[in-house]
């Protein structure tokens, strides 16, 4: 997929060429993949065949990381029952951003550079600075990030949907994360999956624009969750009802 910003990246805006993964992670991936494959082949049974396949995949991703930095690509679209201009205004208004972006803080400086900080308590903090590279009100906003830890560039489009359905709001972006396949899988398991984040953010914009609120069940009564439920609560970072603070401001209020 190529990002169709109708603008080629200007000189200096291509992703940097440095490898995505640390040497150590690549080495570990290759070693683990090779070990699994050999063990799987030696076993000479169906389970072994499965292991060998998994190992081969690890070797493949490790080698791919050596050859070329990993670049993720995301394309997501939603149709919102509002006019393109309304959606554009809504998206352009920083007051509305905090609703869609969970755990993200942002800041705009004098030169119209936007700093994003993904902050999830003590677990991880990611900084990203980005610049609007091109914009046509009511049609598109294209951006590119600084060559920092996570590099990304993409475009947000506002297109009139056929048949009076409103606006097709779409986001398409490429990113380069300093991670190998293992860290990517772990990050996505912890909820840091760029595609999921993009999709849920657009969904929230749609929900808020169409209905005035974002549906939720956080804080509703629930019975004893049991052992498995307690484990899931940790994984999904749920909070039991009793601990929830009363909400200061309801979405859409």
């Amino acid at each position: 997929m190529t990002i169709t910003t109708n603008l080629a990246p200007r000189p200096g805006e291509e992703f940097s060429r440095r490898p995505a993964t640390t040497r150590l992670e690549t080495a570990l991936t290759l070693a683990a993949g090779a070990a699994l494959s050999i063990y799987g082949v030696v076993r000479r049974d169906w389970f072994g065949a499965g292991l060998a396949t998994g190992g081969a995949y690890l070797v493949y991703t490790g080698a791919a990381d050596l050859r070329k930095p990993y670049q993720g690509r995301v394309r997501v679209g939603f149709t919102i029952a509002k006019e393109p201009n309304e959606v554009y205004e809504f998206v352009r208004n920083p007051e509305n951003w905090i609703v869609g972006l969970h755990g993200v803080r942002f800041d705009i400086d004098d030169e119209n550079r936007l700093s994003l900080q993904f902050d999830d308590g003590e677990r991880y903090t990611l900084n990203s600075q980005l610049r609007i590279t091109d914009e046509k009100p009511g049609e598109y906003i294209a951006w590119a990030s600084d060559p920092h830890m996570i590099e990304h560039r993409g475009v947000l489009r506002f297109k009139k949907a056929p048949g009076d359905r409103g606006t097709e709001l779409s986001i398409a972006f490429e990113y380069k994360a300093p991670t190998g396949p293992i860290s990517r899988a772990l990050a996505s398991f912890a909820g840091f999956d760029p595609e999921q984040l993009a999709r849920e953010s657009l969904r929230k914009i749609k929900q808020l624009m169409e209905t005035g609120e974002i549906p939720t069940t956080a804080g509703q009564p629930v019975g004893a969750r049991g052992l498995r439920g307690a484990a899931k609560r940790v994984v999904f970072r749920e909070r039991p009802t009793m601990e929830l603070q009363p909400q200061q401001r309801l979405a859409g209020d």
Binding site: T211, I214, R225
Partner: protein
């Protein structure tokens, strides 16, 4: 408050949980006066629906009195007596505006789960797994109702709870199943399953002008209730072949419309049924589409197969060649509740139908686990169970 919580397959417990609170400006809180157990709740009880978690509060057929409303609620007022539809709709998206309420875009907080399995997510439902929204259900003393202005149907006090309760699901579901058949004068409609939805489908088919309804089941109390509504009946355990029987009863044409009011846990007899049971036990399949196969085979050329019965996964050995060869029309899906509640309330007010006919058992909420078992195992000629969440307190 007290609530019935799912704790695993065949395991339900009445637990003390927090009272629900307003979480969004369009929410309302309802003090539940009556709630019912639905046939589709049995799919949860039997563990066939994915993404249930221990502690989830069950129940999607309920009514009561509004005790609190959010800041953006305008139509519904505190003190209103309301019946709550089991699907939650926002009222503003493309689907709500086109009367496809159960396809609402904006009410499922876990839409991504349903998208993974089905491609797109439908509206959220009360008490019906996290994939369908994870909203706490109504087999409890109170419930939080999102978008209460859009969904809740106000009812005056002239009608009893039991007369209007089933506007929350099974009456509209049966009615839509019949309406989907596009019934014309002279039409013969065959209905598999004479459970609560089947009973309402039979009566709705007559309301919509069917000439003749043939009801298929094997439990004599259910067949008796169908006969009382004016249907001819087939006890499938008594006949060699349901399809041949239907052909014979319709002068060789086959029914003009076939309605599957059974869904994924069909019983059936013979090799086909044994095959489906085995596959389901081995976790190779979610569904036992015995009725769907029969309905496709039995339906007349160009007829309608309408499915109010719930299916969950990928179906096996469905005779699609027959469906294509005969040019059948398929209509299915969760009920677009909001289209029917007003209309059906009028039928009740005019005395065309008294939905309380279907109730055979009444329990307090504390006895709900036992009530599920009686209903599932069809003990004591059970057809429909209504629960009173306050019964014990009232007696004390």
């Amino acid at each position: 408050m007290k609530a019935l919580c799912w704790q695993g397959k065949n395991k339900l417990e009445v637990e003390q949980v927090n009272d629900p609170e307003i979480l969004n400006p369009r929410d309302g809180i309802v003090r539940i006066t009556k709630t019912a157990i639905c046939g589709s709740d049995l799919h949860l009880y039997d563990g066939y629906i994915p993404s249930m978690e221990p502690g989830d509060i069950l129940g999607h057929e309920f009514m009561g009195e509004v005790v609190e409303t959010g800041s953006a609620v305008t139509r519904i007022k505190k003190g209103d007596r309301v019946v709550v539809p089991f699907t939650i709709a926002c009222g503003h998206c493309y689907f709500c505006k086109h009367n496809l309420w159960s396809a609402c875009d904006n009410t499922n907080p876990n839409a991504w789960m349903a998208e993974k399995l089905y491609g797109y997510s439908g509206s959220a439902l009360f008490g019906y797994s996290h994939m369908m929204g994870g909203y706490a259900g109504g087999q409890a003393q109170f419930a939080r109702v999102p978008f209460i202005d859009v969904g809740a149907l106000k009812v005056d006090r002239g009608l009893s709870d039991e007369q209007v309760l089933f506007l929350s699901d099974i009456f509209p579901t049966g009615y839509m199943a019949a309406e989907n058949c596009d019934i014309k004068p002279g039409d013969v409609v065959a209905i598999w399953g004479c459970g609560p939805v089947g009973q309402f489908t039979i009566r709705s088919a007559f309301l919509l002008g069917a000439e003749r309804v043939i009801a298929i089941d094997r439990f004599h109390e259910r067949l008796k209730m169908a006969r009382l509504a004016g249907a001819d009946v087939i006890d499938y355990a008594d006949v060699d072949d349901v399809i041949e029987e239907l052909k014979w009863m319709t002068g060789g044409r086959g029914p003009d419309a076939c309605i599957d009011a059974v869904g994924l846990e069909a019983h059936g007899t013979g090799i086909a049924a044994a095959y489906d049971y085995t596959k389901q036990r081995m976790k190779l399949a979610f569904d036992r589409p015995i009725v769907l196969r029969q309905a496709i085979q039995a339906c007349r050329k160009g007829g309608v197969v309408s499915l109010p019965g719930v299916y969950g996964g990928v179906l096996d050995k469905v005779p699609f060649g027959a469906a294509f060869g005969k040019g059948l029309i398929f209509k299915m899906g969760q009920t677009h509740m909001h289209n029917y509640m007003d209309r059906l309330l009028k039928h009740i007010q005019q005395g065309d139908i008294d939905p309380s006919f279907v109730i055979t058992h009444r329990f307090g909420l504390d006895e709900a686990p036992q009530a599920y078992r009686i209903f599932r195992d069809k003990q004591e000629e059970c057809i429909k169970v209504v629960l009173d969440p306050w019964q014990e307190i009232a007696a004390a």
